[in-house]
Symmetry: C2
Subunit: 282 residues, 2 copies
């Protein structure tokens, strides 16, 4: 909540101060606010998260911070997901323009569902459903244990097995699927000897329906590998081209869906993988 | 987008079909929708994500899916973050109640900012700022390399060093901070010999200001350790109580902020850690 004047007025004079207000982590407020702000690429924003606003007293301090920002050179904007009525009432006392996601949608959702909402500080990103939370944590552990084929022991336990040549972006995608969706993901790195035949590598051969391939462009792969082992055969454009061509052939022959990671984020790849292999998780 | 009748009518007859519609991953639509739905704990929802709706043709198929759901026993509800006007116009042709986050907020944000929004399919969870994206991916790699003190080489590069006895929840929190915030996080497991004195372990002694402690309850720690090594001294309540008491003493003596992981999610812990140690990332 510390918000010094020097921080506030830093940057260009036309930087818009943005506040994300929440009774919990603020992840929802940030997501919602940023989904709107991304439509204004010409503006500069200075974002400030104020999470865990759980008392009227804390809300009053936030109002003081917002009102101080109102006295600055550029009108600020605040996004709030706070649910408790008394706290929302205090926040609305600020002179700062406030987009209250809760207020605008809650009554409409209540009307559609024909049911009153609780209007309590709900921890969407809290422990929530403990069973589901524990599954997510177990999936992170599983992902770390099975990163880059380190352990082939429990491959049968995997919901999805990501196949790709080294450095195509398997690991961050694996972590994202585990952490956000509780999916058990194993990585299987395709190495040169896997390309000697057109068969799938033995450890994943009986698990074809769970496999998902990742590919990228030779130039991108060569660049990433060069960061790790500069000027090696491993990083050469020729070697990268060969491995990607052979990997893509394997995906094609065995009808394994695949995605090109060179222009996709881990979030986008994860969405495609879930839709393709695990619609029940999506 | 496949949505069979059997799936739709599965579960109790009062299950509400929920649709998340997006021109991108749908992460924002899910976050926003779920932040509202969590206020209705007595209702049951069957969630369906329909991401990457990028053409009018795809939007028409979605409308058919929504209208089919309307003919089911329970009125469905749809949440949309789609930004492109032509696609939104098609979605609004559906008979299904639609909470259009974009429509409801965009004009208000435009008015506050005094600037027109682009109204294009913007990839909030796409590659976005490539530099920032690459930093996140580098942070994931760093986290894996430094998981559980495996490598002390580049501890100086860490933005935050999480200290805790084994199995207190360092690893998932590390991964979350890396993946979502691009923070370089190292784990330093406190082991018995670290408790022989009141000094901080030598590798982190000069990095005190970057340390953050994690603690939990002895009962919880014993339970988690028992899953790994049943009936071991390591998992005994006595040993867990001792390690936690000594760890907490170290945090106190060296004024290292700490958090109890037993009742907090990784998202909540990450928010607290960022606010405490890295307000510039929060």
């Amino acid at each position: 909540m510390g918000f010094s004047t020097s921080e506030r007025t830093a940057g260009s004079p036309s930087t818009v101060p943005v506040f994300f207000l929440s009774d919990s982590t603020g992840i929802s407020a940030e997501t919602m606010g940023n989904a709107l702000l991304i439509q204004f690429p010409d503006l500069r924003f200075e974002r400030r998260l104020i999470p865990f606003i759980t008392t009227v007293e804390e809300a009053r301090k936030v109002v003081a911070t917002l009102d101080a920002a109102m006295d600055g050179p550029v009108t600020p904007i605040a996004f709030s997901t706070t649910a408790v009525t008394e706290i929302r009432d205090v926040l609305h006392e600020s002179r700062c323009p406030l987009i209250d996601f809760f207020e605008l949608h809650m009554s409409r959702v209540e009307e559609i569902l024909g049911h009153p909402g609780q209007r309590v500080a709900a921890r969407l990103h809290g422990l929530g459903d403990v069973k589901r939370y524990n599954a997510r944590m177990a999936a992170v552990e599983y992902a770390i244990e099975h990163d880059d084929g380190q352990s082939l022991r429990a491959l049968d336990k995997a919901d999805v097995i990501l196949l790709a040549p080294s450095r195509c972006g398997k690991t961050p995608t694996t972590m994202y699927l585990a952490l956000q969706h509780g999916v058990f993901v194993a990585n299987y790195p395709l190495v040169e000897e896997d390309f000697d035949t057109n068969d799938l590598p033995r450890p994943v051969r009986h698990l074809r329906s769970r496999c998902f391939g990742i590919t990228t462009t030779p130039a991108r792969l060569s660049q990433v590998r060069n960061e790790r082992r500069p000027n090696s055969r491993y990083a050469s454009l020729e070697q990268c081209t060969y491995e990607l061509r052979r990997a893509e052939a394997l995906y094609r022959i065995h009808k394994i869906p695949s995605i090109n990671s060179s222009a996709k984020s881990v979030e986008e790849m994860s969405t495609v993988i879930l839709q393709s292999r695990l619609p029940q998780f999506a």
